[in-house]
């Protein structure tokens, strides 16, 4: 039988209390939103402490707390280390955030940059990639909510998933980016405190020697530094993380929202703080064989081991930490994706003359629709978290070079960027299906690099960065 660490009533009480607190936060902060910029970009005036907290909390997702143990359980020590290399994305985005703010001080979304820099065709391809990724991440977060609640308390998957989605949609809808950043700040404190507490309890409760012996006997490859799939995973995860952050409007909207010169420092500090978290979260998965825990689906290993090792108190802490991590990412993603759809789809394609007021209203409806669509797509629970997440790796890694070259170099052309994203995605998907999820991003990134350099050199065009400034003023 699956072991239940928390009684369903305790889990429900936690869900309801935290849910109400977050929604109240959203309501209070949302009252001061007067303009579209207030709602979408928190008035473009976020300071270092809040900026660092929101960057870190958003990147500490349910994927960090649940997929890191899954990857460790499947790919061993290298899986754990590889997952922590996701911090590189935040560290490398630090200089990019500064450059973005310089080039587009009035920008709203990552789509704005691609459109102004590469033209309409590349913009549309980018939007497809970006929205596909956003939905993949949203679904993985919704699923993670259901899996977490089910693994720790036995409450059915659909109940937990629905509750968490309703809570996050509600407070994001009420408070916009301000509520997202404020809740992220509180959630960061909870996550860091909780992770330190869990690490302490794990060290107290688990015998390293026993773990090592059991792994060596039953799961030798988890300790093997020449585990082929894990070796392939290392840089794949690094490039996947870079692709996620470089292209996603979640990070661009924050770069726009942070004060001048705050973005670079905030992303750098957040990256450093984030680095050890997947190690701690992943490590506990290695205790599963010693504890004799049967893991039905590998994405449940984190909560199952925590519940067993840490008892009811530990399970409550894990529940709150993962719920906070989940909410901090889900709200950010809802807000940023709604911004992208409002600005790039609604205003960019459907209603070009829409006023800020109309976009403000449209943004709220879009958040609701996004929540509903995510719920519908989460219901069937089609795959495991890692498989779903890394499927999007083929898409996002293809956008790394168009972003980097587009921000710094004049020679990158629109046609080259479009072809790089298309070919990278196709080859990445081919690698995903023929080899495994742990190579999709590497393959996509490599092909994208070749294509953007070759086609740009053949076209031999030069971009005038002043065009970006003119486009930015028009925004």
């Amino acid at each position: 039988m699956q072991e239940i660490a928390l009684s369903p009533s305790v889990a429900l009480i936690i869900l309801v209390i935290f849910g109400l607190v977050w929604i109240a936060f959203g309501y209070l902060l949302g009252r001061s939103n007067k303009t579209l910029e207030d709602y979408m970009l928190a008035g473009r005036n976020v300071g270092l402490a809040f900026a660092t907290a929101t960057a870190m909390a958003t990147w500490v997702t349910s994927n960090t707390t649940m997929t890191a143990p899954q990857v460790t359980y499947e790919l061993g020590v290298w899986g754990m280390v590889g997952y922590s290399l996701g911090a590189v994305g935040l560290l490398l985005f630090a200089p990019l955030a500064k450059r973005i703010k310089q080039l587009l001080p009035h920008g709203f979304t990552s789509g704005d940059f691609i459109r102004e820099r590469y033209g309409v065709v590349a913009w549309r391809v980018f939007l497809v990639i970006s929205l596909f990724y956003a939905f993949g991440w949203l679904i993985s977060l919704g699923m993670a909510g259901g899996i977490l609640v089910n693994a720790l308390s036995g409450i059915p998957y659909h109940v937990g998933m629905t509750t968490i989605l309703v809570v996050c949609v509600s407070y994001t809808l009420l408070g916009g980016l301000k509520a997202v950043i404020a809740t992220d700040f509180v959630q960061t404190i909870i996550i860091i405190t909780g992770v330190i507490f869990i690490a302490y309890l794990v060290i107290q409760n688990v015998g390293f020697e026993q773990m090592h012996t059991d792994l060596q006997t039953e799961r030798p490859m988890l300790l093997d530094l020449l585990f082929p799939a894990a070796i392939m995973f290392l840089f794949n995860n690094l490039l996947f993380g870079v692709g996620e952050i470089f292209h996603s409007n979640v990070w661009w909207s924050r770069a726009f929202a942070f004060r001048q010169d705050t973005g670079a420092r905030a992303y750098f500090i957040a990256g450093l703080f984030w680095l050890p978290i997947p190690i701690v979260a992943g490590f506990i998965a290695l205790a599963a064989p010693s504890l004799g825990i049967n893991v039905p689906s590998s994405d449940m290993v984190g909560p199952l081991v925590s519940g067993r090792i840490l008892g009811t108190t530990g399970a409550i802490v894990v529940f709150i930490v993962v719920f906070s991590a989940l909410a901090s990412s889900l709200d950010s993603l809802l807000a940023a994706t709604a911004d992208l759809i409002t600005q790039d789809i609604y205003r960019g394609h459907i209603n070009p003359g829409a006023s800020d007021e109309k976009c403000f209203r449209a943004g709220r409806i879009i958040i609701l629709l996004l929540g509903l669509t995510t719920w519908i797509l989460c219901v069937p629970r089609l795959t495991t978290l890692a498989s779903l997440l890394y499927f999007t790796g083929a898409f996002v890694a293809s956008a790394i070079w168009p972003i980097v070259f587009g921000l710094y170099y004049k020679w990158a052309s629109g046609t080259a960027a479009t072809l790089a994203m298309l070919s990278g995605t196709c080859l990445g998907l081919l690698a995903y299906f023929t080899i495994g999820y742990y190579v999709a991003a590497v393959a996509s990134c490599a092909v994208s690099l070749l294509v953007i350099v070759l086609v740009s050199k053949i076209e031999n065009k030069t971009f005038d960065f002043d065009e970006l400034s003119r486009g930015d003023k028009a925004l």
């Binding site: 799961r219 490859m221 290993v301």
Partner: protein
């Protein structure tokens, strides 16, 4: 699959083997009934057949020195054989399946559904079909377990309930990717990462200057 094997003690000169998988493979009458001792290995009988077998067992078959009585019991067992052969789907109480036959990562999911009450359900893992050395996992009646971290090789799994095998054994082969392939992707990733760092640092320095 059902098999029942009857053997003599150390001085046995002959034996009887019944195979319930569809055909009686061979049988031969023991020459000395008084010395006959019984060893049984039963796999996957459903409740009714199992009880019939037990009745036949308890009816004196194994201890009888009467050849006619023994033949009568033997015919009864043969009837059971044919009965089992007509209903092979009922031979196993639990249906054990694997998510893949060949794993390149050393992990896969085993799932099962048992239609009987399980007192002590174990999932056994072995490196050979005889299950001489096993790793046992206590599991629930309907469920799944993700096995990870296995090295190259052949692995066999089956379910037992209170020491009795209740599922067919299934086979999963683990064949990891070659180190050459893994190294190529590692190297490719390293090169891409290095280019990325250089590109950002160079671009940043240019824009600052």
């Amino acid at each position: 699959m059902f098999s029942a094997t009857y053997a003599h003690n150390e001085s046995a000169r002959t034996a009887l083997k019944l195979d319930f998988s569809g055909l009686v493979t061979y049988y031969q009458l023991p020459l000395s009934m008084s010395e006959l001792q019984l060893q049984t290995a039963i796999k996957g009988l459903n409740g009714s057949i199992k009880s019939l077998f037990h009745w036949a067992d308890a009816g004196g078959f194994i201890c009888s020195s009467n050849r006619a009585f023994f033949l009568q019991r033997l015919l009864w067992l043969l009837w059971l054989t044919l009965f089992a052969a007509t209903a092979p789907a009922r031979a196993a109480e639990a249906n054990l399946t694997a998510s893949t036959d060949v794993s390149n990562e050393g992990y896969f999911v085993l799932s099962w559904q048992s239609d009987t009450d399980a007192d002590e359900l174990l999932l056994q893992q072995a490196n050979s079909t005889d299950f001489n050395e096993t790793i046992d996992r206590s599991v629930s009646e309907a469920g799944a377990v993700t096995i990870t971290g296995l090295g190259d090789g052949d692995y066999y799994f089956r379910l037992t309930n209170s020491g009795q095998t209740i599922s067919e054994s299934i086979h999963v082969a683990v064949q990891h990717h070659s180190l050459a392939r893994a190294g190529s992707f590692f190297l490719l990733g390293l090169v891409l990462f290095s280019i990325l760092i250089i590109t950002i640092l160079t671009g940043n320095r240019r824009t600052v200057s």
